[in-house]
């Protein structure tokens, strides 16, 4: 296994990336003086600490090696994310029911045993539950199907 593909090395790289990103996006924030700190003082301080820690973590991982990273399965994370985005896009334009159906359908594709009848049953049960809890129970202002209910 390549020593650059260890969990620790990549984690160090991630921290360095966050540190650099924070420095770049915070470049216009005035640091000020220790007495009167500007908005940038603490962010800059934290960014530098992250850079140092990230560098240390990566360095230790390259010298001593580390636990290799597991090859991620992209299907579940991709489908869950797509499902959430689809929900966000559909919710305000078409109402809760289409958004809910899309989310449950897409997320169910992520599991290995996919049965369409089960998914439909799940959608029906969850719709009833959500209407009871959110619309009736907590009295939220939600359209179930936009323009209809």
């Amino acid at each position: 296994m390549n020593r650059f593909l260890s969990k620790d090395f990549l984690a160090g790289v991630m921290f360095i990336a966050f540190g650099l990103a924070a420095l770049w996006f915070g470049r216009n924030l005035a640091p000020g003086t220790p007495v009167r700190m500007g908005p940038g003082y603490v962010p800059h301080m934290l960014s530098y600490i992250l850079l140092v820690l990230g560098f240390l973590i990566s360095l230790i991982a390259t010298i001593y090696g580390g636990e290799p990273i597991e090859i991620p399965q992209f299907r579940p994370i991709a489908l869950v994310t797509i499902g959430l985005v689809a929900f966000a896009l559909l919710f305000e334009t078409t109402g809760m029911f289409p958004a809910l159906a899309a989310l449950v359908l897409i997320a169910s594709l992520g599991s290995e045993e996919f049965k369409i009848l089960e998914v439909i049953a799940n959608i029906v049960v969850l719709t009833i539950l959500c209407v009871l809890v959110f619309k009736i129970g907590l009295n939220m202002n939600i359209d179930v199907l936009r323009g209809v209910w």
């Binding site: 969990k7 620790d8 990549l10 984690a11 991630m14 921290f15 966050f18 924070a22 996006f25 915070g26 924030l29 003086t33 220790p34 007495v35 700190m37 500007g38 908005p39 940038g40 003082y41 603490v42 962010p43 934290l46 960014s47 992250l50 820690l53 973590i57 230790i60 636990e67 990273i69 597991e70 991620p72 579940p76 994370i77 869950v80 994310t81 499902g83 959430l84 985005v85 929900f87 966000a88 896009l89 919710f91 809760m96 958004a99 989310l103 449950v104 997320a107 169910s108 992520g110 599991s111 290995e112 045993e113 799940n122 969850l126 959500c130 959110f134 907590l138 009295n139 202002n141 939600i142």
Partner: protein, 499 residues
Amino acid sequence: MLSNLALGMGVALSLQNLFYAFVGCMVGTLIGVLPGIGPVATIAMLLPITFHLPPVAALIMLAGIYYGAQYGGSTTSILVNLPGEASSVVTCIDGYQMARKGRAGAALSIAALGSFFAGTVGTLIIVLFAEPLTQMAQKFGPADYCSLMALGLVAAVVLANGSVLKAIAMVFLGLLFGLVGTDVNTGAQRFTFEIPELSDGIDFAPIAMGLFGIAEIVVNLERKMSRSGAIKVTSLWPNREEARRAWPAVIRGTALGAVLGVLPGGGPTLGAFSSYTLEKKVSRRPAEFGRGAVEGVAAPESANNAAAQTSFIPMLTLGIPSNAVMALMVGAMIIQGIQPGPEVMTKKPDLFWGMIASMWIGNLMLVIINLPMIGMWVKLLTVPYRFLAPAILLFCAIGAYSLQNSIFHVEQVAIFGVLGYIFVRLGCEGAPFLLGLVLGPQMEEYFRRAMLLSRGDPAVFVQRPISLGLLITTAILLILMALPSLRKAREEAFQEEEG
């Protein structure tokens, strides 16, 4: 003190609060029984809903979920050898063996009654320590607070699982995310990318939902969940021999759990593991452990519940969360417009004492919910995860939307879900990140105020005796971590946990 308790009982016994305590205990037991979803993810999911409830009811319900999960987790550990919660992993070892010997009912009732005893003691400890600790905290200046938070964050890291260096980096990353929004002192926009929703700061609930809820679902979807058949429960009563062996273990477990719960980074899981190890050491029959020793069920189950109660102490009195669940409770208070800290007790006594009293009532409810209704909970285990995962996702999505009726928060959940998944894959713990995120804004505020008062001299942090003492403790913890022998012992302790 008695008048405080009376006030608390009055609040907790109102019909509305009793109802929410019951809801919290039911939900807690439910998620405790179901593997694949823990109290952190559940509380994160329900945070937006609590926004629609009165503050006392909201906190009572969330607290109920937390300690309810400790009860529920033991049920599946004993009956199906499947821990519903991390804190019930050790209960599997001897609990399931007892069940195989036909003593399932005895194991269950010892676990429940031990938990109830521990919960009662834990609640009493909170009552005893709350006032003195709060009075002490009111003497703290900005520098002292800053050092106290540093100590809390470092201690949380030391006791957390996994690499210390990575956990420290996660704390700083959390602190950095906490800075997003408008700078309180100058009004400057920091890391807002001209998104209006971000100018009030990054919302806590969607981050917690993404990091814990979504990432947990994805990881569970990746691996297959196997379920084995449950063991039938006959009599619920332990026999005389079992009772005689259980009660000293319950007392030892309660004591150890109560102490470990108060420590930052401690909590139910640490309490359960430590007390199991302790029982094995003090037992006259160590060979029985792993073959259905009563002590192996009684001690860890009492310890995890005692720790669940006492971990409220630093949060309620100092405003410093000691673990991820407490960080979420702080988030829930902030959503309700309450700044956690020593003022909560003096300014909102009804909330403070009501919550404590409700914990004892909740524990009583849990014994009733758990023992007679055991069959129903076990049936729930047969619901496959492919039904649960979309349902959990859906609750996250609607909950996030309902925060401010904006789909921006749903998108935020999706983004932090991906980030949380990356954290899991890289072996970075979410809990230190969350603690940093919650404490970040306050810590910056105290830091800047302390430096302003001292005219820019950082020596203020070592000149004030309270601050100096806290910083020395922090340094000692960090040095201890660097010692090779201690690091090895810590790794071994967590190895056992994973095994």
